[in-house]
């Protein structure tokens, strides 16, 4: 498998040898200031050995992991955790505020998915831009909330008992609550707000950014422009994932088809494009199929557990953990998707079913 992202920065120690999960072995031969290519890597800075280890495990691996298992739902899982009402400290409905008011609950939320087998956990920052936080009067606390969210995610990873896989933190960037194509907001104002959030996430040390649940092509394009402008300003080369949301009728909310999305996002150096939210895997199939033939990088698929139904007065997502895992394995086989996870309705049990099914299968392949 070829990967455009095989040329990345790493930081390591001259003369040392590093073994990385059996996939890569690197001997550092270049000196500072003289970048050289070595099995596809650019070597830039020489740091302390300890730091180098961290870098090698994180930056390099996330783009070279053959398969990335993301976590499940934040919102619906929080609901099922039955947090006491005072956890929100009066800022009802703002889950991002829980990063500050109830960090232990958020760590527990992440921990559930990590123990289930997730490799990547998304920070609890879906609505942590000034545009959304402003609706709760929290527009001045963007940096604080995003920093806390990354801290909580890191804490969860450090407490995780599983050592059979690498763990990463993805900074979650949601669509805000405004659609620029419908004139709800000027693209420049949207860009400024989301840029502030992304800056905070990057500063706090996320391993990648995921721009997700995009419902408006102009919104995702605006955020991508802002994101890569920011990375250039910061001199960083952080992996960026993009994920759009398709309604059941097969287009984004304002009518864009997958071809338009693909052609518009293709020029941006994102490492992946895929779908999340709105529907279950069945409804995503035509778009994922299209991507498998028209997108030259990684494909992500992070579905809801089907279309919600109301049962005994409660909203329920119908897909069972094993049913969900079957769909994902099928998509991996048929469409080569390599970033998988779950959106609304995805419990740790779903992620466990997926991770176990994958582990079983790789055992079968080996034996």
């Amino acid at each position: 498998m070829k990967n455009r992202q095989n040329s990345i920065e790493i930081s390591c120690f001259l003369g040392n040898e590093y073994h990385l999960k059996g996939q890569w072995k690197i001997r550092v031969i270049a000196r500072k200031g003289r970048p050289k290519r070595l099995i596809g890597f650019k070597l830039f800075k020489i740091l302390q050995k300890k730091q180098a280890k961290t870098c090698l495990q994180t930056i390099m691996s996330i783009t070279n992991e053959q398969l990335l298992i993301f976590d499940g739902a934040c919102g619906t899982t929080l609901q099922s955790m039955n947090l006491p009402a005072d956890a929100w400290e009066g800022i009802d409905g703002c889950n991002e505020y829980l990063n500050l008011s109830a960090p232990q609950s958020i760590i527990e939320l992440h921990g559930g998915f990590l123990e289930a087998g997730a490799m990547v956990i998304e920070t609890n920052t879906f609505g942590a831009s000034s545009l959304v936080l402003g609706e709760y009067g929290l527009e001045d606390r963007v940096e604080e909330i995003n920093h806390a969210a990354v801290r909580n995610a890191r804490k969860a990873i450090s407490e995780c008992s599983r050592s059979d896989r690498n763990h990463y933190v993805a900074g979650s960037v949601g669509p805000t609550t405004k659609l620029p194509i419908l004139g709800h907001i000027e693209p420049a104002a949207l860009a400024a707000s989301v840029k502030e959030q992304m800056r905070a996430l990057i500063e706090a040390g996320v391993d990648c950014l995921i721009i997700e649940t995009c419902q408006d092509l102009l919104q995702v394009k605006t955020v991508l422009v802002a994101c890569f402008e920011l990375l250039e300003e910061l001199g960083r080369d952080l992996p960026v994932l993009s994920s759009v949301t398709f309604e059941q009728q097969g287009t984004m909310l304002v009518g864009s088809d997958i071809g338009a999305v693909c052609a518009t996002i293709a020029p941006f150096p994102v490492i992946s494009l895929g779908l999340n939210c709105a529907t279950g895997p069945v409804d995503m199939e035509p778009q994922i199929h299209y991507l498998s033939e028209n997108w030259d990088r990684r494909i992500s698929c992070i579905p809801n557990q089907g279309m919600p139904i109301v049962q005994d007065g409660e909203t329920v997502y119908p897909l069972s953990p094993s049913g969900y895992a079957d769909h994902m394995l099928d998509f991996i086989d048929r469409f080569g998707i390599s970033i998988i996870g779950g959106c609304c309705g995805t419990s740790p049990a779903h992620i466990r079913a997926l991770a176990d099914a994958l582990a079983n299968r790789s055992r079968e392949v080996r034996s």
Binding site: M1, K2, N3, I181, L182, G183, P187, A188, D216, L217, L218, K221, T222, L224, V225, F228, E229, G250, T251, V254, G255, S256, D257, G259, A260, V261, C262, A263, T264, I265, A266, P267, F268, E285, P286, H289, Y290, S292, E293, N294, W295, D296, R297, I299, F335, G336
Partner: protein, 805 residues
């Protein structure tokens, strides 16, 4: 795992959909009208601040077939940036076609890029200022993921020759790619055209240089695209000459490798409507070839001085309505459609008009498009005429549909927006009484499966798609249908499909039947076969059984085994009186066609009034005059002959002599010839012939009116005589059909008409029927005298139909 090495074609996108830069049938059409410099109307709307009006013009560009819409807001004295912002917001949220952002100002371009949701083309960059603007615009293209057009202009000005044009293209390419990180596939080059219509000696080879530059840029920078602003080539020439030169030059440019053209389709004639000589003269001008005494420019101008394309003439009176309808479809001409159809309805059922006239004409349009002779906007116009015609005919159709009829699911496959073929199938099937569920364009296999699950009454699935990639998608989807547990028959149709491809690549992938349908009729036949329970999957035998290319595309005419028995063999005279055949006279053709009383925009009542107060009294007066003056002396000879077919030649042995008819064959699909309706392989068949005349007197009387300058009376009488002769021919054909007991079947083909325009071919008919016995003779050019005479062969084959060679 998926193949990461595959190359994804360069695409543009609007908010709604993606557009391939390399169109399968080139060129990518960029509509140029939304530009205040180029369009007075757009300018006025812009100056009034009428953004909605501007948007309507954008939508119009899209409607007439533009794949991309060029948008400029530059007008002296206006705030270009503010105008551009307002326009892009409005266009970007509405148009399905991606935009070309047309401005020289980086600031304006950034405003547009920021507000535009999809992936546009920036128009344009160059090196005129040494690269200052180019630097800014390339950065913007990179930042916003846009594609960009480079003009071959540098510090010395516009490049005139191919070497310089190519060199500047390289310079722009290298700078954009190496310095700004753009991809070669993001770049368009416009090698500029200058007029060859001004007589400027320095510009006589301007077209040659541009064409050479297109070729070289495509060779040397193969991943880049080429684009031209077309109309410059003909600047300074009269309007019609411009339209011809533009069309011919565009065709040459596409041949040279042009990917995209900035154009107003209204400024081009479709190539098939430019005569051979006009086209040659245009080519002489383009390639600067002097063939006579005149310079190519003078020869071209002289020729087009009084050049008129048919639409400007109104000589419809002399053309058969069948041919008229065909021309209207081919030319996208909607005028007088009502009148033409009413004329045809006298001799055809509405369904026959659709099946025998409209669909074959549309097929011809499709072939012209496929061969690059017709641009998409013209195809759309033709389809519109087709649609309008069916709309007019539909209320008159008796739908034979009943509740238990076959239900068909119809769709254009994923990634394909071309629905002309699909719509034809819909028209044919639904008008033949089948239920059609049409779920539109770009339909994914998954949606199809879902629709079939939700509608268990669906019996047959029909998939359509124009593009090569659609054929691939059909092939791949077979597995999906199979996996979904479908069993129903699948009919596949589309320009890129072949029987072989379907049989080899699609049939094996699906458990049910898969059938290739070369056109809408084949689709109808397949549904009928399904109903009869004998539908078969497409098959393909070994390669060596491939027939010649002409035969491959020919319609298979199944030959009849039961040759009818005629009441006699040889020739006879038939006695007729005007009372017998005048009731058959086609009054619609006479009134609307020959006499020119068209309905145009009159209401039904107004037209009825006109007929009653003026037209019918004129008709009655003529009939009266005919009787009192004895103007008609009708005579008929007809006969039945045994015949044999040798390839395209039909042979008749009569009284020890052999007579041969070499019927012409269509040069375009379906490559029909009258001889196709006869049995081959030395089996005997039967042909009928007749010759009728109204006698000399009616023609003489008409000419006398003409000589007396009584033109209106002449027109009335002459028109009447033509239709009266037709009515007599019709009468004789009916009589002959009765003789054979074949009722309404069979077809007569008259010499000098569309299926057999060559009058020479009627010589053997004349000898066989002994025309002189009823006072008809042939002139040296094989025309009949008296003028009102008709000769025809009568074909008994039940599938014989009207066509034109």
């Amino acid at each position: 795992m998926k193949d990461h090495d595959k190359s994804i074609p360069s695409r543009l996108a609007s908010l709604y959909q993606a557009t391939d830069i390399r169109q399968e049938i080139a060129p990518l059409i960029i509509g140029e009208r939304c530009n205040p410099t180029g369009s007075k109307k757009f300018r006025e709307l812009l100056l009034e601040g009428d953004v909605d009006g501007c948007l309507q013009m954008g939508l119009e560009q899209e409607r007439i077939g533009a794949h991309v819409v060029d948008l400029s807001a530059a007008w002296a004295g206006r705030d270009e940036q503010a105008d551009m912002k307002a326009l892009v917001k409005s266009f970007g949220k509405t148009l399905k076609a991606p935009l070309m952002i047309d401005s020289t100002s980086p600031k304006v371009i950034e405003t547009a890029l920021e507000a535009y949701p999809g992936r546009p083309i920036i128009n344009s960059i160059n090196f005129e200022d040494g690269g200052e603007a180019l630097d800014k615009i390339c950065r913007l293209a990179k930042k916003y993921g846009a594609s960009v057009t480079g003009l071959t202009i540098d510090e010395q000005g516009m490049a005139m020759d191919a070497d310089k044009k190519t060199a500047i293209a390289h310079r722009i390419h290298d700078t954009a790619v190496e310095r700004y990180g753009l991809d070669s596939g993001d770049l368009f080059f416009d090698p500029l055209t200058f007029t060859i219509g001004s007589g400027d000696e320095k510009l006589v080879d301007a077209a040659i240089q541009t064409l050479a530059a297109i070729k070289r840029i495509k060779e040397e920078l193969p991943r880049c695209h080429t684009v031209l602003g077309l109309s410059n080539i003909s600047f300074g020439l009269p309007v019609n000459a411009r339209k011809v030169l533009n069309a011919v030059f565009l065709h040459e440019a596409v041949e040279a490798g042009l990917d995209a053209v900035i154009i107003d389709p209204a400024n081009c004639f479709p190539l098939d409507r430019i005569d051979e000589e006009g086209r040659e003269l245009a080519l002489d001008l383009i390639y600067n070839r002097q063939t006579g005494e005149l310079s190519p420019l003078m020869a071209f101008i002289n020729y087009f001085e009084d050049f008129q394309i048919e639409e400007d003439e109104d000589t419809q009176g002399d053309v058969e309505p069948e041919q008229l309808l065909q021309q209207h479809i081919l030319h996208g001409d909607q005028r007088d459609l009502d009148d033409i159809l009413v004329m045809l309805l006298e001799s055809y059922t509405p369904l026959e008009i659709v099946n025998q006239l409209l669909v074959p004409a549309m097929r011809e349009v499709g072939e012209l498009f496929g061969s690059g002779e017709m641009l998409l906007p013209f195809v759309l116009q033709s389809a519109e005429v087709m649609r309008k015609s069916v709309e007019i005919l539909e209320p008159r159709m008796e739908k034979s549909g009943h509740d238990d009829t076959v239900t068909v699911l119809l769709a254009t496959v994923q990634g394909d927006v071309h629905d002309i073929g699909k719509n034809l199938v819909n028209i044919i099937l639904s008008n033949n009484g089948y239920k059609v569920i049409d779920i539109g364009i770009k339909v994914t296999a998954e949606t199809i499966v879902e629709t079939i699950r939700e509608n268990p009454q669906i019996d047959v699935l029909c998939l359509s798609g124009l593009l090569v990639k659609s054929a691939m998608i059909m092939q791949e989807s077979m597995e999906i249908y199979n996996k979904a547990g479908l069993h129903l028959p699948i009919l596949l149709g589309g320009a890129a499909l072949t029987e072989k491809f379907v049989a080899r690549e699609c049939v094996p992938g699906y458990g049910g039947k898969v059938v290739y349908c070369r056109d809408a009729f084949a689709g109808l036949r397949a549904i009928q076969a399904f109903e009869a329970g004998n539908l078969q999957s497409s098959q393909w035998q070994r390669e060596d059984s491939v027939k010649s290319t002409v035969q491959e595309t020919r319609v298979e005419i199944s030959l009849v085994d039961d040759i009818p028995v005629p009441p006699f063999s040889g020739t006879r005279e038939l006695a007729v009186s005007s009372e017998e055949f005048l009731p058959l006279l086609n009054r619609q053709v006479l009134f609307r066609g020959r006499w020119g009383y068209k309905k145009k925009k009159m209401s039904d009542d107004e037209y009825e009034q006109l007929l009653r107060s003026q037209v019918e009294p004129e008709y009655d007066a003529i009939v009266e005059k005919i009787h009192t003056d004895g103007l008609l002396t009708p005579r008929v000879r007809y006969g039945w002959f045994d015949c044999r077919r040798q390839d395209d030649r039909l042979l008749i042995n009569h009284e020890g002599r052999e007579f041969g008819f070499d019927f012409p064959r269509q040069k375009h699909a379906p490559h029909l010839s009258i001889s196709d309706y006869f049995r081959n392989d030395s089996k005997q068949d039967l042909i009928g012939m007749f010759l009728i005349t109204l006698g000399e007197k009616i023609g003489e009387t008409a000419h006398k009116l003409y000589d007396e300058n009584r033109y209106h009376d002449y027109l009335l009488l002459h028109g009447f005589s033509v239709e009266a002769a037709e009515a007599l021919a019709h009468h004789v054909h009916n009589k002959m059909a009765d003789d054979l007991g074949i009722g309404e079947f069979g077809q007569r083909y008259s010499f000098g008409y569309s299926a057999c325009p060559d009058l020479e071919l009627q010589r053997p008919l004349f000898e066989l029927l002994e025309g002189e016995k009823i006072g008809v003779s042939l002139t040296s050019s094989c025309e009949m005298t008296p003028e009102q005479s008709v000769s025809a062969v009568v074909v008994h084959h039940p599938e014989a139909k009207y066509f034109s060679v």
